[in-house]
């Protein structure tokens, strides 16, 4: 399993709303991406992110990021009879995630294109 490092967070930084989160932007992108297909509570988020990104967010790290994202209005908590409160993406969160992922896609496309030009395709 890949170990999530601060460098990964830096690499995820791109002009956009998530820049305000500084080194947490990488974690924020993972959480917002997980919530893009529906509301999830903390444990479900952890498992989903582990499944699609190979990254296990520790509880303190996860809730530090959730708290920041909620304070910035990028996600919101839903009412629940269960003690495990689910979170969902807001419109602002969706816009921020889209901007972030588009910036990452641009970087990825440029990198892959240059790799293909100079190193061939694998």
């Amino acid at each position: 399993m890949a170990r999530f490092t601060e460098r990964d967070g830096d690499a995820a930084d791109a002009p956009g709303a998530l820049d305000a989160l500084g080194r947490s932007a990488g974690r924020a992108t993972l959480i917002l991406s997980s919530l893009a297909d529906g509301a999830k509570h903390g444990y479900a988020l952890t498992k989903d992110i582990e499944a699609f990104a190979g990254v296990r967010l520790a509880p303190g790290t996860l809730y530090e990021a959730l708290s920041r994202l909620e304070a910035r209005g990028l996600i919101e908590a839903l009412d629940s009879a269960d003690r495990r409160r689910p979170y969902q993406l807001t419109a602002a969160g969706a816009a921020a995630l889209r901007a972030q992922l588009q910036a990452q896609r641009t970087v990825a496309e440029v990198g892959l294109h240059r790799l293909a030009g100079n190193w061939g395709t694998a």
């Binding site: 305000a20 509570h41 303190g60 790290t61 809730y63 304070a71 003690r83 409160r85 419109a91």
Partner: protein, 366 residues
Amino acid sequence: MTRPPVIPPDGIPPDGITAAPGGPEAIRPPGSRAARRLLRWYPRSWRARYGEEFAELLIAEFAEQPRSWRRGADVARGGLLARLASAGLISARLPGDPVDPAAGRRASLAALACAAAIFLTVGATMWAQLTVGWEWAPPATPGGSVAMVVMSAAMLLLAVLAFLAAAPVAIAAARAMARGEAPRLRRPALLLAGGALVLVLGGRHFGNAWPGTGGRWWPHQGLVPGGIAAFSWACTLSVTSYWAHPTVLASFPPAELAWMAVSPAAMLCVVTGTAQLVRRVELSPGVLRHEAWVGRAAIGGMAAFLGGALCWVTEGGPGPRGLVHAGAIDVAGVAVMVIVLAAGWQALQRAGRPEPFLAARSVARR
């Protein structure tokens, strides 16, 4: 019919009422006790908001992996950060806190003030030992003399900058109190004033008793008036390697030991009060620019002091080697100053830029 569990005011769910993930309410699921213990790292306000759901996540994690020092360290780190944020010492907002761009800059300035305070505490500890040492004997090496001149000049600069930074905030706070905002500012103002009073009284008392300077206000020899050197020494008496030598510590006078316990608390009060005041007082854009300018100059002053300290540590220090020499605690002090200077620089960078997420929010709303 089952009644929902009642969460106490401290936000920690009582033992035995936590439901197992995905199952019906159960009595004390595995990990609930450990989860409760870990929750105590977080402040009450955080627990009131996230306590229940965070405990559920921890219980699920415990079920999956009963033992993990990484998880414990991660929760401790998160809890300490939340406590620092709750005390107003670092920039962080909980949901429901008002969105205010100026508040973000004030929070960053408060973080810079905290970084400068830690730097000054560690730096003053080192500098006071050296200045007191010079009262007895001059530096043995040219490098030591240069280091002392640089560190003393940097301390003077930082003292002037502290005044320049504090004056506009004090004026703004006084005006805010006159406008009737006293209740919001009373607690930080009392913390600041109380802590400063204790430091001044205690520092003067224990400084006067120091035989090396006798509290003289003019230099016997060296650069710095003995009173200032002794005062700095007394205020930072608690930062010492004697804590690692309990038998030596036991021979200290009880009053001095008490002061070594009280003075850090007083310093903490000053720093917390200052940070909270900076975060709560409305500062005009002009004052914010002024504070950012002072912050940049302070970073320069701290870097200069650090250069002097490094010079001294590598040279071995002024005075007879047995009297004042660089030890492990001084090397550790230099490491702390480097870390704090980096943190202060980051805070300064944040203080100088608006919060971009606000722009994103307005775009999303359109």
